[in-house]
């Protein structure tokens, strides 16, 4: 108690120096928190966007499907499994999928395409697929006898809304799958890859065409953005028959994206690291001055009977207090800034917007308000201030009272 009080009083002896030091910590933390929130927000959002159009956060397949992506590795719909999965509060949507490859022809053009058999209502809820329609209409029900094409694909096939398209592929157990569909709508997707080769088809139609009634190649699961993926995967695995099903995360299904994020984060960590390195120097300088100015006083305290480790502890408390004042102010400021940006995401305009959209990324920067960001920064600053305080502690332990008093 006395030590805390003394440390507190001591840090205000040189108000200006303490103010400068805490302010530098404040700005470092503020910067670290906001940039971290921004990059995390961008990643979270990018992941959310990409997976909502592609894999989902998690997918359940028949065991072995991922290594051999054939309709023969599909599985039968199990309503009980749906119920079980939906019990998890983090699970927001479950989307049945039947994915196959086929050839699509229109007049004399033919192209390899990806057929995505979907539940149109569910997709709509997850990724607003219907809003991406640029011509015609979206498919409405699982039975709708019509398809929606990616814009790139449509232009390659020189095909328009209401034209009829022929699809030829392989069905379940080597049956042949062939069908004609009317094009109900044309859709413009962010991902150029999907845009150039996707055909969305109502799931019942897809199953019928492939002779795979009631069968799926995957169940895509959508989650709350901030869910811990590995934990959730484990909890899904628990309710599944491991002999029959495999569960994969988007990181496993889209490893390039995961690697991209990792690589991108490294740069960020380096910058934050340098920032904290500089701040450490400032704090260290302050601690050095504090101890050298006070040698006489420290010598007297040792002379009148104060143990050196208690003095070292006071100096450590002072270091921690200075750092934490700056840190908490930075966290507070960071929360305000982050909250503001969470509510008012940054919209890119002009050239930058086009660049982003070409990569299939939304031209909006969302911020993440994950509490982890704040906790991690606080811990880093706390740890730094403790580490730095070892130096004055060390000086005190070596202090000889007579020399100190005479200095």
């Amino acid at each position: 108690m006395m030590l805390l009080k003394l440390a507190w009083l001591n840090i205000w002896r040189n108000k200006r120096r303490t103010f400068i030091t805490t302010t530098s910590v404040f700005f470092a933390v503020l910067l670290a928190v906001t940039t971290r929130s921004m990059t995390d927000g961008v990643y979270e959002n990018m992941i959310h966007n990409i997976v909502s159009f592609s894999s989902g956060y998690l997918q359940i397949h028949q065991n072995g499907y991922w290594d051999e992506q054939s309709i023969d590795n599909s599985f039968e719909v199990d309503d009980q499994l749906y119920q079980e999965l939906l019990k998890n509060p983090k699970v927001t949507h479950i989307m049945p999928r039947l994915e196959t490859f086929a050839l699509a022809s229109y007049s004399e053009k033919t192209k390899g395409v990806l057929i995505l058999g979907i539940d149109p209502t569910k997709e709509k809820e997850v990724n607003n697929l219907h809003e991406k329609i640029i011509e015609g209409q979206y498919i409405e029900t699982v039975n709708d006898n019509a398809v929606v094409l990616g814009e790139g694909l449509a232009s390659q096939l020189k095909l328009r809304v209401n034209d009829t398209l022929v699809l030829l592929g392989q069905g379940y157990h080597a049956s042949s799958a062939a069908a004609k569909f009317k094009v109900k709508g044309i859709i413009k997707l962010g991902s150029p890859d999907l845009n150039n080769r996707v055909i969305y088809m109502p799931i019942k139609r897809a199953q019928y065409m492939h002779g795979a009634e009631n069968r799926l190649t995957a169940i895509s699961i959508m989650l709350d953005k901030t869910t811990n993926l590995e934990k959730l995967k484990a909890s899904v695995q628990v309710v599944l028959d491991a002999e029959m099903y495999e569960v994969m995360t988007w990181k496993e299904m889209l490893p390039e994206m995961d690697q991209f994020i990792e690589a991108d984060s490294t740069g960020h960590y380096i910058i934050i690291g340098i920032l904290y390195f500089l701040i450490s120097f400032g704090l260290f300088g302050t601690l050095m001055m504090m101890i050298f100015e006070r040698k006489h006083e420290l010598g007297i305290l040792i002379a009148i009977g104060m143990k050196k480790h208690l003095l070292a502890l006071i100096l450590m408390l002072e270091s921690i207090m200075i750092a934490l004042i700056g840190c908490f102010a930075g966290i507070l400021g960071g929360m305000l800034v982050v909250n503001w940006f969470v509510k008012h995401p940054v919209h890119f305009t002009g050239e930058l917007k086009d660049i982003y959209e070409n990569y299939g990324i939304e031209s909006i920067i969302y911020f993440s308000s994950s509490e982890n960001i704040f906790i991690v920064q606080t811990l880093i600053v706390l740890l730094l201030s403790i580490l730095l305080a070892f130096y004055p502690g060390f000086v005190v332990m070596k202090l000889r009272p007579v020399e100190a008093i005479n200095s």
Partner: protein
């Protein structure tokens, strides 16, 4: 017969042993009995501070022993020595004795807090001491708000707070005008009588020397004379 409270036996201190040795204190023997009021005098550089620091366990002698109230402190390991000082020795230094961020009351109470004395007891002792040094109206002042003489009086109160066996004061009046110096010495003399605490202080000041009951004179690190006198 009064008991020996300070027994310095054949004490020597040599600085710069390797380069140009300075024999600051040479083969000094001093016995001081409980309740004495002793001035340590001598020209500048005669070794007064060095001797006091060794007696107080702040500095290690090159040879010889110091026994305080039967404890050979020259043999104690560092932490035991710090504890010994806390409970048995009060110090008053020349200047800047006090913790600047604490009030007079907190400064005096500090050693008692280190001794883990209860709050009520502490309060009582601190107020009593500040009263004895005539600073009852300054208990909540910080050192910066006190005159040099007042600061030294607070330092004396602090030195006495733990009821030590001895109080060592190295030129406590050096930075004071003669009136404040005389006043401080009167307070020290009074506390020496009332609390029966042994005082050993060094000084240059003739008027201060007059207040002592025994005067030990050092010259070139050796005891030159050791006389009893009637204080004025």
């Amino acid at each position: 017969m009064a008991k020996t409270i300070i027994d310095a036996h054949n004490l020597s201190k040599t600085y710069n042993k390797k380069i140009v040795p300075v024999k600051a204190v040479q083969n000094v023997h001093i016995h001081i009995e409980e309740g004495e009021f002793v001035a340590l005098v001598g020209p500048s550089g005669s070794g007064k501070s060095t001797l006091l620091n060794m007696i107080g366990g702040l500095d290690e002698p090159t040879s010889g022993t110091v026994i305080i109230d039967g404890v050979e402190i020259t043999k104690l390991p560092e932490n035991k020595l710090i504890d010994f000082r806390l409970h048995n020795i009060g110090f008053v230094f020349q200047s800047f004795n006090l913790i600047p961020v604490l009030t007079a009351k907190e400064n005096v109470g500090f050693v008692l807090q280190l001794q883990k004395m209860s709050k009520e007891e502490r309060e009582k002792r601190v107020l009593d001491l500040l009263h004895q040094v005539g600073l009852e109206d300054k208990i909540n002042s910080r050192p910066g708000e006190l005159s040099g003489g007042q600061q030294q009086r607070v330092a004396v109160a602090r030195a006495l707070a733990s009821i030590p066996k001895i109080v060592l004061a190295d030129e406590p009046t050096a930075n004071l005008d003669s009136k404040s110096a005389g006043n401080l010495l009167d307070i020290m003399a009074k506390l020496n009588k009332e609390e029966k605490i042994t005082f050993l202080f060094s000084t240059h000041d003739v008027r201060v020397i007059k207040k002592a009951r025994r005067v030990i004179t050092l010259v070139d690190g050796k005891v030159d004379s050791d006389v009893q006198q009637i204080p004025k």
